[in-house]
């Protein structure tokens, strides 16, 4: 009896999951389909999911017209550095905010709200001038710093939540056992935070990878531009676009995030967290 309900529930779960994935993935599938379609099929009144005459022309044009590889390298550097630095500086601060009720936490919370709610367009000009004074205009470092700061509200806020979910008793137990504070943090707290840290790093990575506005105004020379900026070069006036090459480039630009996430997820699922709790 219970076995049968279990199996029915399982089937229901798979069905629900499939529904979710269809909803979330179908625009992407459409993008992939578009990337392989010749121009003639793009103008069809009854477009098909599978291209009738698949072609690689769009990819060829995209690579011919725009420095996609260079841009991808720039994006990768910016996103990896931003994710790494953001997690590195945010985790300790989040820890302090979560474990101590102080004026700092209140101020930080206020900052998170204001910095996220205030119109970005009004901040870009002062930010531009500050970076200019620091000689960071038109450098990836400048962009990375901006991405770190823009990922911090999310990073802090989420990490505080994850730290709170780690019971303080664990740390106390460890320090009673004689472990130093730093060792307690590294060997007890950090492993339990791992999923949260990974999620945060992923957030910072993807945000930076996809970010357009800052990259657009802060980078000038073509060799430094990032992928989202280069993608806009396929778009013309009145929202017209060179759809085929744009889709081809956008398809390639989507893959790294997906692959990285898939790898990380595989690791996490089988890896450290489950071990830490079950020991």
């Amino acid at each position: 009896m219970s076995m049968r309900t279990g199996r029915a529930a399982r089937a229901g779960q798979y069905a629900a999951l499939l529904g979710y994935l269809v909803f979330l993935a179908f625009p992407f599938l459409w993008l992939v389909s578009t990337a392989f379609k010749p121009a003639r099929e793009l103008g069809s009144l009854h477009p098909t999911w599978i291209p009738e005459n698949p072609t690689l022309d769009n990819f060829r044009t995209a690579f011919d017209e725009q420095p996609l590889l260079q841009a991808a390298a720039n994006s990768l550097i910016a996103a990896l550095c931003a994710a790494f630095i953001a997690v590195l500086v945010a985790t300790p601060m989040a820890y302090v905010m979560a474990r101590r009720r102080s004026r700092l936490s209140t101020a930080a919370t206020g900052w998170v709200v204001i910095s996220q709610a205030f119109p970005l367009v009004l901040l870009i000009i002062p930010l531009f001038l500050i970076l200019k004074n620091l000689h960071l205009i038109n450098t990836l470092w400048g962009l990375i710093m901006v991405y770190v700061v823009w990922a911090l509200p999310f990073a802090l806020w989420m990490l505080v939540g994850y730290v709170r979910a780690v019971p303080a008793e664990l740390e106390e137990a460890a320090s009673v056992d004689g472990a130093g504070r730093l060792r307690t943090l590294v060997s007890v707290t950090a492993p339990l935070l791992a999923p949260g840290i990974v999620a945060t790093a992923l957030f910072a990575f993807i945000t930076a990878w996809n970010e357009l506005f800052f990259a657009l105004v802060l980078l000038k020379t073509p060799e430094k531009q990032t992928l989202p900026v280069v993608l806009t070069h396929f778009i013309g006036a009145e929202g017209a676009a060179d759809l085929g090459p744009l889709a081809a480039a956008a398809f390639l630009a989507t893959l790294p995030s997906l692959v990285i996430f898939a790898i990380i997820q595989r690791r996490i699922t089988g890896g450290m967290l489950a071990g830490a709790v079950k020991n």
């Binding site: 017209e65 531009f128 200019k132 000689h135 105004v217 806009t232 009145e238």
Partner: protein, 432 residues
């Protein structure tokens, strides 16, 4: 020291090393002694046009070893935000490609150089006066208008021939009432006579409105601008409104589309005609199914003939550029008649220069080039683009009002009340 660091770093080819080079690279740029560095931001986005621009820059650099131009791609989608920030931060490119309807604020803001003393007479006299007036703000000229496109009717030849309607020519165009009648005749089962892609309803309405004598914006002797709706201002909006709501000869669903969105329906025979910018022919050629026959017709005419407003593409100079003279030389090079023809063909648009427009290769009937050239001299500056407060009037008043009018949610009186009364309130704030 830094150079050696850079070399080692590049050799290491790790992510971190790439980063270092990226950082150290900022000190490059004005490297070679005496060579002038200019940056040219181009918004070309279609393959042919990007190729033409890059090729011209290459030719310039080969001919001028002491004045080096760097080609920087930009995007129509983001150019305004990017330029505004760059101007405020004093980091704008030297040579700026844009459109005349985007220049007003930059020109009034003092960011663009007045070109009157910088350009050679050849160029000044080659481009007609009405084109120059699109880039004249106050007393100065802040851009060189070099490419423009009229709105034309791209029509399905077979449907047109089968219906037996009179085919218009630039000499004998349809009048607006005749046009309305024709679209009614072209409408059939599962087919509309026309699809108006009015994602941006204001510029289309105002630009075509010129043909019927519409003006809407009236400048008084003291320079103050007020909005008044006359008889001529009603013809174009009323025609579109009636086609959608009375005759059902225009597709209601197309009203929110951009130009490209209408093409599948056009190719599929759902729309007999689509009013599009001249450059959309490129997409038609590329995407039309095999054997699809199409033709380019002039837009309908009114009391002012075929007149319609355009906002040409422009080349401007940054006021902050230290090498305006050399940058102006580059513009002159780019816009020599043969080069202007290459740029025009790359973008499938019309050149503004009279010499370029006379080029025989543009007078071919193929792909409708000749029709475009024939209406070129009727093109006027888009109304109101130099009026301060126009962008706000457009976004806040005119766009929603026209959208509601065309979809039938409000009537003509309410439309005019909003355009005029609400509009004048907006303009008043800018003219205090």
């Amino acid at each position: 020291m830094r150079a050696s660091l850079r070399r080692t770093a590049a050799a290491a080819a790790t992510a971190l090393a790439l980063l270092l080079t990226g950082c150290a690279g900022t000190d490059d740029g004005g490297g070679d002694s005496g060579r002038i560095e200019l940056s040219f931001q181009s918004l070309a986005w279609q393959k042919e046009s990007v190729d033409a621009n890059k090729q011209l820059v290459k030719e310039w650099n080969e001919a001028h070893p002491d004045i080096h131009v760097t080609y920087i791609p930009g995007s129509w989608d983001t150019v305004h935000d990017q330029l505004l920030t760059a101007f405020e931060g004093d980091e704008a490119p030297d040579i700026i490609h844009d459109a005349s309807d985007d220049l007003a604020d930059f020109a009034y803001g003092g960011y663009l150089a007045d070109l009157r003393t910088l350009l050679p007479d050849r160029l000044t006299s080659d481009i007609p006066r009405q084109s120059w007036s699109t880039t004249t703000f106050g007393d100065g000229v802040y851009g060189v208008p070099f490419l423009q496109e009229p709105r034309v009717l791209i029509a399905n030849t077979r449907i047109l021939a089968a219906s037996g309607v009179r085919i218009p020519t630039p000499e004998h165009p349809w009048s607006w009432p005749e046009f309305r009648q024709v679209t009614r005749e072209l409408t059939g089962k599962g087919r509309y006579g026309i699809a108006w892609p009015l994602k941006e309803p204001v510029s289309v309405t105002l630009n075509l409105g010129l043909s019927a004598g519409g003006k809407l914006f009236h400048r008084a002797a003291d320079g103050k601008v007020t909005i008044r709706a006359g008889e001529g201002d009603r013809i174009v909006p009323d025609t579109i409104h009636d086609q959608v709501n009375t005759d059902h000869s225009a597709a209601r669903t197309a009203l929110g589309m951009g130009g490209s969105d209408t093409l599948p329906g056009f190719f599929g025979g759902k729309y007999a005609m689509v009013p599009l910018g001249f450059s959309y022919r490129q997409q038609v050629v590329e995407q039309a199914p095999e054997g699809f026959e199409w033709t380019v017709l002039p837009a309908p005419a009114g009391s002012a003939g075929l007149a319609q407003g355009v906002s040409p593409q422009t080349l401007s100079l940054s006021e902050a550029s230290p090498h305006k003279k050399e940058a102006a030389q580059f513009i002159d090079f780019l816009l020599r008649p043969p080069n202007m023809v290459r740029l025009a063909k790359g973008d499938w648009m019309l050149p503004t220069g009279t010499a370029a427009l006379a080029d025989p290769s543009l007078h071919t009937a193929e792909n409708g080039w000749a029709t475009g050239v024939a209406v070129a001299k009727t093109l006027r500056p888009a109304p109101a683009q130099s009026v301060r407060g126009y962008p706000e009037w457009k976004d806040k008043v005119a766009t929603p009002a026209l959208q509601e009018y065309y979809s039938g949610a409000i009537g003509g009186d309410e439309l005019r009340k909003r355009l005029v009364d609400d509009g004048n309130r907006v303009l008043a704030r800018y003219q205090r």
